[in-house]
């Protein structure tokens, strides 16, 4: 009898350990990821608190902060993106660095847009382990409770462009929408839904010098938006 109980508990522990290992990274990997980050990423990405940054400093940043990467990204997406990166911001990190003034209006000078470095699959795993351990804003994430659902695509599109004005800066399909912000038709694949909700409601709590306005949306409004982002990310 005792042996059976012990055997059963052992199985439970083993299953839990297997489950944990699936989503976890070894301490060795995380340390290797840290070293790799400092060597290859820290020139462009900050990983320290941005609470006291000035706007002038913010505009000189070469790439988004990774200070709260573990609160922001979906780990599976991050790991695969690091091995095969694609451009997510049509205008670059700060559009002004890449603007060309023409007679037909300002345009993004594509020749100024650099390519993000790619790393090996193993290095992507190590970097992801390190980045996903950066979670200084978990309290903001815990305030959100999100269940992604469906919405009518046409109504969602109208809401996105006309009522909320997101389309002025963000694309909701490839090539359609503003170019100064990151594309949003891949947002649900890339980002944790709680992060999207929290950042949309209070962008300045994440990045005090964010270039995103706080449009004072209520929970229901944010839910509608997230459902639209979910639909267009499929």
């Amino acid at each position: 009898m005792k042996a059976t109980i012990l055997k059963k508990s052992g199985l439970v522990l083993l299953s839990a350990a297997t489950l944990f290992a699936h989503n976890a990274y070894s301490a060795t990997d995380i340390e290797a990821g840290k070293q790799l980050f400092e060597k290859s990423c820290a020139d462009c990405h900050s990983i320290t608190s941005n609470d006291n940054i000035t706007l002038a400093q913010r505009l000189k940043e070469k790439a988004p902060t990774l200070y709260y990467a573990g609160n922001k990204f979906n780990r599976e997406w991050l790991q695969s993106w690091l091995a095969a990166p694609t451009r997510l911001r049509p205008g670059g990190h700060f559009f002004m660095d890449n603007v060309k003034v023409t007679e037909d209006g300002d345009i993004i000078d594509e020749s100024k847009l650099g390519k993000h470095m790619a790393v090996s699959a193993k290095q992507a795993q190590q970097l992801t382990g390190y980045l996903m351990a950066q979670t200084p804003k978990s309290a903001l994430i815990q305030q959100e409770s999100i269940t992604l659902g469906k919405t009518n695509r046409t109504l969602g599109e109208k809401d996105f462009h006309k009522f909320k004005g997101c389309g002025s800066c963000h694309q909701d399909e490839d090539g359609y929408g503003g170019v100064s912000g990151p594309e949003l038709y891949t947002s649900v694949k890339r980002l944790q839904p709680e992060f999207i909700a929290s950042y949309t409601k209070m962008p300045e709590k994440w990045d005090p010098k964010t270039l995103m306005p706080n449009r004072h949306l209520n929970d229901n409004s944010v839910k509608k938006l997230l459902n639209y982002l979910n639909v267009i990310s499929q």
Binding site: F95, G105, D106, G165, S168, P213, N214, R215
Partner: protein, 119 residues
């Protein structure tokens, strides 16, 4: 005696006015960060996002039109968004991104683009 009391008061008021004076140089950085994406690097309304927008952003270089707007109107449009001044909802409220003082600096910069040309 009364005159002696008034002189320091006038000095204090002058100092306060100076402190409250908006700084268009500081405002320029805010314009670059928040406005040029739609209103354009030169403020002509043709920013990088303008081509895809349903309502064209305001041309801040159009002196004739802009001179009819008071500083308070421009301040309100920036702080509370276009809807607050019966204009497009696509102009967002920037109240969480700038303090009132910083918005005053931005208004001062907008004035340099629209209404101080050739001065």
């Amino acid at each position: 005696m009364k005159l002696l009391q008034i002189i320091p008061l006038l000095c204090l008021l002058a100092g306060t006015n100076q402190a409250l004076a908006a700084d268009s140089k500081k405002g320029e950085v805010f314009y670059q960060a928040y406005c040029t994406q739609c209103h354009g690097v030169n403020g002509d309304g043709w920013g990088v996002n303008a081509a895809m927008m349903d309502v064209l952003p305001k041309d801040h270089t159009e002196t004739k039109e802009m001179i009819t707007r008071t500083d308070e109107d421009i301040f309100k449009a920036i702080k509370e968004g276009g809807k607050a001044v019966s204009k497009s909802n696509l102009m967002p409220n920037w109240d969480a991104n700038m303090t009132d003082e910083e918005i005053h600096d931005l208004v001062a910069y907008v004035r340099t683009i629209c209404c101080e040309k050739g001065e």
